[in-house]
């Protein structure tokens, strides 16, 4: 008696579940969906860009002698170099441009400073925040910060003008200066994501 009731109950539940599945199938007609909308998925991509190029010319900075009784020239500067840039950022993290000496040594008693100047009107986008002149050494220091999506153009006068200032080191003894003609230093620029 009990076994037959269990069998009856099992059959009832089975047919109930089957009926539920049939009811669901009737509400979704895959053959003829009455749909007045259509969707398209699009992948929209923007390639990140971080490119730099300095013009090839060699910059010659020489502190020359003056009249007897005077020090050598206290500073010389050159603003002929240009640094071209193309940057595309994809987050709110801006880039920074740093510079460092990667080859050669700045002669003792002197200092090589660098400052980036505002680029010309061909520059497209925000060129960032220009730092004050920084002394160049083996450790990279930022010369431009807050760089967003931009490009400089590629004409000879485009890009950040780079002003190199070669001067006596005010914190060093004048007596420590040694004549050393032709010391060549290489300055490397790096464009990185802001830290």
């Amino acid at each position: 008696m009990i076994r037959s009731r269990i069998t009856y109950l099992t059959c009832f539940i089975f047919f109930l579940v089957l009926a539920c599945f049939q009811a669901k199938a009737q509400t979704e007609d895959p053959v003829n969906p009455a749909n007045n909308t259509a969707t398209a998925t699009l992948i929209l991509g923007v390639t990140e860009v971080s490119l730099l190029k300095a013009n090839d010319g060699v910059i010659n900075l020489q502190l020359n002698q003056r009249a007897a009784g005077m020090s050598i020239e206290t500073s010389k500067s050159d603003s002929s170099a240009r640094l071209l840039i193309s940057s595309v950022i994809s987050t709110d993290n801006r880039r920074l441009l740093s510079a460092q000496v990667t080859s050669g040594t700045v002669p003792a008693g002197t200092q090589l400073q660098l400052v980036a100047l505002p680029p010309n009107a061909n520059f497209v986008g925000e060129y960032g925040t220009l730092a004050s002149p920084v002394p160049l050494g083996a450790v990279g220091l930022p010369i431009v910060t807050n760089i967003a999506t931009c490009y400089s153009g590629t004409d000879p006068s485009d890009g950040y003008p780079l002003k190199f200032i070669y001067a006596l080191d005010s914190e060093a003894s004048y007596g420590s200066i040694r004549a050393k003609p032709g010391e060549q230093v290489v300055v490397t620029f790096t464009l990185t994501a802001a830290q």
Binding site: A40, L42, V124, T154
Partner: protein
């Protein structure tokens, strides 16, 4: 003489005229579907320092199929909306002339030209659509032309995977 009078005999009696009410109905229909490959729009980067990135890129590989059946003077319109706001870029879309398989081309509606898509509101792409259908062979349907552009001087350009939803809807007739 016996006469049987049968009044019920008049029921169902044939005459020279017969009438029958027949209800004729045409179900309104408004269906859209996208066909074609996945759409990937990439603003490529600069090759050399100082170069600009690509300012825009286009894609016309997909089609928007349609079946529209309207009653009387009803007209329909197709609108589109994107699923999220874009950063530093814009997505334009233009529905262009379908091919010759389009049936009742006079009813295909007025193509509104290139439109900037928005995530906040529906943008109308075609209006004045009557009864027509596009066919469903490869290449049938309105040509969907996407143009993906960088906003000039935008500080940040972000990539995204978005959904464009096209909707066909009935346009209320002008009461005048």
């Amino acid at each position: 003489m016996i006469i049987f009078l049968m009044p019920f005999a008049a029921i169902g009696q044939d005459s020279r005229v017969a009438t029958q009410d027949v209800s004729l109905q045409v179900a309104g229909s408004a269906l859209l579907a996208i066909s074609g490959p996945a759409v990937n729009l990439q603003l490529s980067g600069a090759a050399e320092a100082g170069d600009a990135i690509a300012k825009s890129v286009e894609n016309s590989a997909t089609r928007l199929r349609i079946s529209s059946l309207v009653n009387a003077d009803e007209k329909r319109a197709i609108s589109a909306k994107i699923s999220e706001a874009l950063v530093g870029t814009q997505l334009y879309v233009e529905l262009q002339e379908p091919n010759t398989n389009f049936v009742y081309p006079d009813n295909k509606g007025t193509l509104k030209g290139q439109q900037l898509l928005d995530s906040e509101k529906e943008i109308t792409l075609v209006e004045g659509i009557g009864t027509c259908w596009s066919g469903k062979e490869e290449g049938d349907g309105y040509i969907i032309n996407y143009t993906y552009k960088a906003i000039p001087n935008a500080p940040v350009l972000k990539s995204a995977t978005i959904t464009v939803t096209y909707t066909i809807s009935l346009v209320p007739s002008d009461p005048s």
